[in-house]
């Protein structure tokens, strides 16, 4: 199966997590890892499974590299009813009101355009000092399992 891993980042944490997810998946799957700012949303509908890793910037906003993607998505309004995606959001509970909201801005768009989220909504909290990749790699198998179950049924 071909899995697309996309990341939106400000400080590089999401990029590192996306790379590590890509590396973990590469043993059994074909993987493409890409920065959201280099990714054309028109391609989304054709993906088998898309993983999104996205941080939160400022007051609950999208990180820099996710902004052009979100704008292109808004302009294009593609039909994503065939899209199966999983979301891993980064944030900081130190800023309770806006914790992990950056990724939710993308999640909402995908849902509105008909996409189906697979598995648990993954989260990493900077206040925990956990390494983001450790948390994401624990989250990943559940997503793959949920995807395989969804495809079979």
């Amino acid at each position: 199966m071909h899995i697309t891993v996309l990341y939106g980042t400000e400080s590089g944490n999401s990029e590192l997590i996306a790379e590590d997810l890509g590396q973990a998946l590469a043993a059994d799957h074909e993987v493409t890892v890409s920065d959201l700012q280099d990714y054309d949303p028109a391609q989304l509908a054709g993906n088998a499974l898309t993983l999104i890793v996205c941080s939160t910037h400022g007051e609950g906003e999208l990180p820099n590299t996710a902004i052009p993607f979100a704008e292109a998505l808004d302009a294009l309004q593609p039909d994503l009813s065939g899209l199966r995606y999983a979301m891993f959001g980064l944030g900081d509970t130190f800023y309770e009101e806006t914790y992990s909201q950056g990724s939710e801005l993308l999640d909402r768009r995908f849902t509105e355009l008909g996409g189906t989220r697979i598995g648990e909504y993954g989260r990493h909290d900077a206040s925990s000092w956990d390494l983001g990749s450790d948390v994401a790699l624990e989250w990943l198998p559940g997503v793959i399992e949920a995807f395989e179950a969804a495809v079979v049924s």
Partner: protein
């Protein structure tokens, strides 16, 4: 591993800029020999010594940088000061390219009369004290009941938060407890922050202003107009909203401490008390030409950092005094981060800067502008005395564990503000017979 096409790269400075550059170069050049030097016995520069002690989650970015040294084959060489332990020429003899990521450490002056009076302090000095920087010395200065902070950027807001907080608010931090105890003996009652710019063009991050609102024992006031034009940019509107929330009379608070927010006032002069000779009044003026004398028990200048201040005497000043979009300084010498583009932007902005410089270096390697010399051996070629002196990443990990083990109640670590203590902990994990302070 080493071949004629393997570049040897020295990065000077292990703060965010240096680490981001090492990360980008490692991705682009998996074979390159990369050494990151630092003058201190520990890595991470401003993350450790600039980010406030009560902003631990911001410091968690070090978790991604650690991997450079533990997994990605980048060498850390701490305790090496360029110009003292190793000349720039000497470094260039052993590395195909040297990238400066030394940041800026010198506080910018106000250039107003009276700025050097007793009782006028620089934000950099205070911040280093609170973060237990090994270059900081002495007790935290006495600021009196009504200190005035000139500047309203993020460094200024960090200081407001420190001055307004009480010792119990530092749980979970790695604040330098000696400095905190000095301050807590005579804490400020009224703190005034003076921004030269009006709210619309002021510097402070709205998120950091909002955070101040969590301090329920503090009353925030302002006699000034805190509104912004309707067509102001998003950050300005967010800043104005944050300030409106803080100063809302309905905001629940006690009045143990007052923070007065002034916008649109320039300090024209700092005047001394004629009997004590210490700074006592800041003469303010605004755009309308109004004047206001502001009483101050101490003055803190927090108006940024001086460009070209990181490398005094090592690199001709004229090469570094201008900001540049390019990281190229001269053959074999590059720069990134604040020493390149000036003291603006938060940690993540240094990432995009470093990526650009890494692209530039890659292009210069491809075009032959950087000439590889297979006789250069990188760290392995440096004089034995320098190699022995260097603090390795494993040494730092030992120091890191020792600091965490030594943390007092409600602290995540205990930093030693003494370079020799740090070295001893790094090398052996304990201080042996070092005196306690």
């Amino acid at each position: 591993m080493s071949s004629p096409s393997t570049p040897r790269i020295a990065i000077v400075g292990s703060g965010p800029s240096g680490c981001y550059l090492a990360q980008s170069l490692r991705r682009a050049l998996p074979e390159a020999i990369i050494t990151v030097f630092d003058q201190l016995a520990c890595p991470f520069g401003l993350i450790r010594y600039g980010v406030a002690a009560d902003h631990q989650s911001t410091k968690a970015i070090t978790r991604q940088f650690e991997r450079l040294f533990t997994r990605d084959g980048v060498t850390f060489a701490g305790n090496i000061r360029l110009g003292r332990d190793l000349g720039l020429d000497e470094l260039q003899e052993h590395y195909d390219l040297v990238a400066l990521a030394t940041g800026l450490s010198q506080d910018r002056g106000l250039t107003v009369p009276g700025e050097h009076l007793p009782g006028v302090h620089s934000a950099g000095v205070l911040t280093r004290l609170l973060n237990a920087h090994p270059d900081s010395t002495g007790p935290f200065p006495e600021l009196g009941p009504a200190p005035v902070i000139l500047g309203a950027g993020n460094v200024a807001i960090d200081l407001v938060r420190f001055l307004a907080k009480r010792p119990e608010h530092f749980a979970g931090s790695d604040i330098h407890d000696d400095a905190l105890a000095d301050y807590a003996a005579r804490p400020a009652e009224r703190i005034t922050v003076v921004s030269r710019s009006p709210v619309a063009t002021a510097k402070g991050d709205p998120l950091m202003l909002r955070e101040l609102g969590k301090l329920e024992h503090v009353r925030f006031t302002s006699p000034d107009d805190l509104s912004v034009p309707a067509d102001a940019d998003r950050a300005a509107i967010a800043r104005a909203e944050a300030l409106a929330t803080l100063t809302d009379p309905a905001r629940a608070h006690s009045s143990a401490v007052e923070v007065v927010l002034r916008f649109g006032w320039a300090p024209g002069e700092i005047l001394a008390d004629p009997t004590t000779g210490r700074a006592a009044t800041v003469a303010l003026t605004n755009a309308a030409g109004d004047r206001e004398p502001l009483a101050a028990s101490a003055v803190i200048r927090a108006v940024g950092f001086e460009l070209g201040s990181g490398l005094a005497g090592l690199v001709p000043a004229e090469l570094l005094e201008h900001r540049s979009d390019s990281g190229f300084v001269r053959d074999g010498l590059y720069r990134t981060g604040w020493v390149k583009r000036g003291p603006t932007g938060t940690i993540p902005e240094n990432r995009s800067d470093a990526k650009q410089v890494a692209d530039e270096i890659q292009a210069d390697l491809a075009s032959g502008r950087i000439v590889l010399d297979p006789r250069k051996r990188g760290f392995a070629g440096l004089p034995a005395a320098v190699q022995e002196r260097a603090v390795s990443f494993a040494d730092w990990q030992r120091l890191d564990l020792a600091e965490i083990a030594e943390a007092g109640p409600d602290r995540v670590r205990r930093k030693r503000a003494d370079h020799d203590h740090m070295l001893r902990l790094a090398r052996s994990g304990h201080l042996a017979d070092a005196p306690a302070r």
